[in-house]
């Protein structure tokens, strides 16, 4: 197939654009039989390399390291990961590949609009012949059936499926969002009380004054922003709204319990409140001036160096700064006790998450890919595959083992990997640094919080008693003592009724009509542009003028049409949440 592509590329300039039709879907020659068993020893099959188009991956290229070796040993297959996130340019890569007729052999893509479009365009394979023998995947048949409801076959496999109640948080010990402060500096400031969002500003000001420079000699700022993920709105503008239970649905901020829906551009919306918060912070000199030009990676390294004091995400502040060494010194990011917070939490998704796995219509050996997908749902697969960001423990007997008491515990090697700053994998596992070898698919088939049927404990090792005993340190002890002896942020929030769980309904908004899509893209560009200007406005008058200008511009562009559409979706999402809560809750 590769040589054919090369030949096509060489012939192209001569034969012209018409020859491009030749690239459209190589297609499988043999007819697929009625049912095909995937149950065979794939390690003896011919070696193949499959293209994995992965909308979640943050790595592009061949999967290497220990995960690559495991897949190679089991399936004699290499994964060539194609990552639009790395390629950049929004949907360009997706559009180009889709127009070429071959998205990939294994596809990780959003359900809803994109999946439907791919099915209609004949780019994904009907996996019905294989499903019967996919024992691990069919264990989650509720999600599988729901996903393929109304479709003429089995086209998608759900991700992040869970057996936990949809009204329970899907997160681990820390929520997805939250006001995370540099706890050591907060302690130095004398643990001042924080009533509401705006009360953070004086606290942050004290913290920044007491700590004007990080250890590396660079200036420290309370707040640092970035723009890479700006979508319907400025992404950093949305985060403070999640502290009050809101999440976005297009241009609507919908409260998790369905009690409030806001248009983001309204003067009294939580979004504008967040912008004003940043504006005030900037007036006080608390905002990193590089915010306007830096990207996520630059910002992340500032967190690592201790140059930023506030994080809206534990997976940013904590993962960058809470190293074993720092925590032993009592330094690190911890949840702040903000009195009126109602933090948004995603409920466990019985019907699976936003993305799906699918087999490409042009896949060379679909049965093997089906077998691979099925393996990803097995306890072994979940442990190995979800280890990048899902906090699953990795391969048994390498990073963890069943201890003498029958409970899972990290091995010495596992301790070194997860707490000691990394380690090299033994040669029999493929060698190389452990972190370089983790699965780059970056998609969890089963929620890591779910219980591993083989061990009786969650896949996520941070829930294991053996782990929790081990990680006690001056930072968490001080935090726990202040927070009413809470063992974790999640426990604190639940005990204090400061968590608002949105039941996991797996709702997907219907596709935008192209008219709405076009208006939306213009409106959001305008909102983002104005938002950034507002944050860095000179004075109140300019801030208000920009706000008015934003409201007038987006209205003129047709904001109301999109808002009505989003509002209807937000209501429908709430109906779905109520329904799923009633059924499973």
């Amino acid at each position: 197939m590769n040589s054919r592509k090369v030949a096509a590329a060489l012939v192209l300039p001569l034969v012209g654009a018409l020859s491009l039709t030749a690239c459209t879907g190589p297609g499988t020659d043999e007819e697929v039989a009625e049912t095909v068993s995937i149950d065979q020893d794939w390690s003896q099959a011919d070696p193949i390399t499959i293209d994995v188009f992965d909308g979640l991956a943050n790595y592009m290229g061949t999967q290497s390291g220990w995960f690559g070796k495991v897949v190679k040993d089991k399936f004699n297959m290499e994964l060539n990961v194609i990552a639009p996130n790395v390629a950049g340019g929004g949907d360009t890569l997706y559009n180009t590949r889709v127009a070429g007729g071959d998205l990939g052999d294994l596809i990780v893509v959003d359900k809803g609009e994109k999946l439907d479009e791919l099915i209609e365009g004949g780019l994904v394979l009907d996996a019905s012949p294989y499903v019967d023998s996919m024992a691990n995947a069919t264990a989650f048949d509720a999600a599988l059936d729901k996903l393929n409801e109304g479709k003429d076959g089995v086209f998608g496999f759900p991700t992040a499926v869970s057996s936990i109640k949809p009204t329970e948080p899907s997160e681990g010990l820390e929520p997805t969002f939250g006001p995370y402060l540099r706890w050591d500096l907060y302690a130095e400031a004398g643990y001042p009380e924080i009533g509401t969002l705006e009360d953070l500003l004086p606290v942050l000001e004290d913290m920044q004054e007491a700590n004007p420079e990080a250890e590396n000699g660079q200036k420290a700022y309370a707040i640092s922003l970035f723009k890479d993920w700006d979508g319907n709105m400025m992404v950093m503008g949305k985060q403070p709204t999640t502290l009050y239970g809101y999440d976005e649905m297009g241009f609507v901020l919908a409260k998790a319990d369905g009690s409030d829906y806001q248009s983001i551009v309204d003067t009294d919306s939580e979004y504008v409140r967040a912008l004003r918060f940043y504006f005030d912070a900037n007036q006080r000199g608390l905002v990193d001036p590089e915010s306007t030009t830096q990207n996520y990676d630059t910002m992340f390294s500032k967190y690592q160096n201790g140059q930023v004091l506030l994080s809206w995400w534990p997976w940013l502040g904590q993962s960058a700064y809470n190293t074993e060494q720092n925590m032993a010194d009592g330094k690190g990011f911890q949840l702040a006790p903000m009195a009126d917070q109602q933090i948004f939490s995603y409920g466990a998704e019985v019907y699976g998450g936003k993305q799906v796995l699918a087999i490409g219509a042009g896949a060379e050996d679909p049965a093997r890919i089906a077998a691979f997908i099925d393996w990803l749902y097995s306890p072994e697969g979940v442990n190995m595959n979800s280890s990048q960001t899902g906090a699953a423990a990795g391969p048994q007997d390498l990073t963890w083992e069943i201890g003498e008491n029958g409970e899972p515990a990290l091995t010495e090697f596992g301790n070194q990997v997860f707490l000691g700053g990394g380690a090299d994998v033994p040669a029999e596992w493929g060698g190389g640094a452990y972190t370089d070898g983790v699965s780059t698919l970056n998609v969890s088939t089963v929620l890591p919080k779910d219980v591993d049927p083989d061990t009786g404990f969650p896949y996520n090792y941070t829930f294991w008693p053996s782990y929790q005993e081990k990680v006690a340190n001056p930072l968490t002890e001080d935090w726990g003592a202040r927070m009413g002896d809470a063992a974790s942020a999640m426990e604190y929030l639940q005990d204090n009724d400061q968590l608002l769980v949105a039941p996991g309904s797996s709702f997907t908004a219907p596709a935008d009509t192209s008219e709405i899509e076009t208006i939306r893209s213009q409106v959001k560009a305008s909102i983002i542009e104005h938002s950034w200007k507002m944050v860095f406005a000179k004075d109140d008058a300019e801030f208000d003028a920009l706000l008015t200008s934003m409201q007038e511009t987006v209205d003129g562009l047709g904001y109301q049409t999109v808002l009505d559409f989003d509002m209807a979706n937000a209501q429908a999402q709430n109906d779905a949440r109520v329904a799923v809560a009633n059924e499973f809750g």
Binding site: A17, V98, A99, P289, T293, S514, S521, L557
Partner: protein, 345 residues
């Protein structure tokens, strides 16, 4: 297939104007270099066979022009559909003129389009206004006597042309960001307390963009004039010197007027390209703060089509742009004809 048809039009290649621009130099070369050969070939043989040979010689270029300048016009069809790549053009819904209507549907849309056009024209006119600079630069360069110094200056000023805009932005960023060289030095000297915003501001955007493109293009733009200077008849200079003209008078009364025909042709061609200021420069420099003034037509098409994923609307916009470009070319040509008596087409 449909996307590749759509792309050139979508990403703002104004096919006719570019086609015209692409054909013209080729024509020029043909009429410039071929007469000699053709005459030599035609006069003695003067049969149909040699003109057939000649045709085969240019055929590959005609094919290329057709493939890359005319065939992509088929992509214009995208503008009349609600194009979805996964479904192909045949599977997408036909929507007629919906996208064209949408472009002008509301005052806010028109205002946005107006701002984009204003930016485009401003950048173009600033370009015209400074288009004499390479002429003067070439003339002054020509007057330098020491060859090593002249070569050094020419090399150094031509070099930036070969640096991509991405790298230019990198240079700009390390110099002018809030923690860049300029701000650090000024801060260390105690001249400023808060960093100056050079990149993320909506002040003087047109001017800074002009300066960057001058820095990048001045030396390169002078090359053609340097070549033109060498072809000026030395007899003119000799007779002027005999008449007692000094160096400045030679420049003023001989070099400058002799360069004008070249200058006018280039100017007219650039007028046809008035709506194409390219997008790389503006794309790398754009951010939320300067977007209002930096978004030129090509960038706007890109932002709508690729960033905003509205391929059909971007195609419609690209089509309008092509039509305006053709109109401009015809108008410029008419003006040149009246002013100088010769047509460029």
């Amino acid at each position: 297939m449909s996307l590749t048809q759509g792309t050139p039009a979508t990403t703002g290649a104004p096919a006719p104007a570019q086609a015209a621009a692409a054909v013209l130099p080729a024509d020029g070369r043909r009429t410039g270099s071929r007469p000699g050969r053709a005459r030599r070939g035609r006069k003695p043989a003067s049969n149909a066979r040699s003109s057939k040979t000649m045709f085969w010689l240019i055929a590959p270029f005609l094919v290329l022009v057709f493939l890359f300048s005319y065939l992509p016009l088929a992509g214009w069809a995208t503008a009349f559909y609600d194009y979805k790549p996964a479904l192909g053009l045949t599977g997408s819904e036909f929507v007629g003129l919906q996208w064209f209507e949408m472009l002008v549907s509301s005052p806010a849309q028109l205002q946005q389009l107006g701002q984009v056009l204003a930016n485009t024209l401003a950048m173009s006119f600033l370009g015209f206004a400074t288009s004499l600079l390479p002429v003067f630069f070439a003339m002054l360069l020509n007057e330098i006597r020491a060859p090593w110094f002249r070569n050094a200056v020419q090399t150094l000023t031509t070099l930036p042309n070969f640096i991509s805009w991405v790298l230019v932005y990198l240079i700009a960023f390390s110099l002018f960001s809030t923690t860049g060289l300029v701000n650090s030095v000024l801060g260390d000297w105690g001249l400023i307390t808060t960093p100056l915003k050079f990149l993320d501001t909506d002040q003087h955007v047109w001017l800074t963009m002009l300066l960057w493109s001058l820095w990048k293009g001045l030396g390169w733009g002078a090359i053609m004039y340097l070549a033109a200077i060498t072809s000026i008849d030395p007899a003119l200079y000799e007779s002027a010197r005999i008449d007692g003209a000094n160096r400045f008078q030679l420049m003023r009364y001989i070099t400058f007027p002799q360069l004008m025909p070249t200058y006018v042709v280039l100017l007219v061609l650039s007028i046809a390209n008035m709506l194409n200021n390219g997008m790389e420069q503006f794309y790398v420099f754009q951010n939320a703060f300067n977007k209002e003034y930096i978004q030129v037509l090509d960038l706007y098409v890109y932002n709508i089509g690729i960033t905003g994923n509205s391929l059909s609307m971007a195609t419609a916009l690209g089509m309008l742009k092509s039509l305006i470009s053709v109109a401009l070319l015809v108008a410029a040509n008419a003006v040149a004809k009246r002013a100088r008596g010769t047509s460029i087409i």
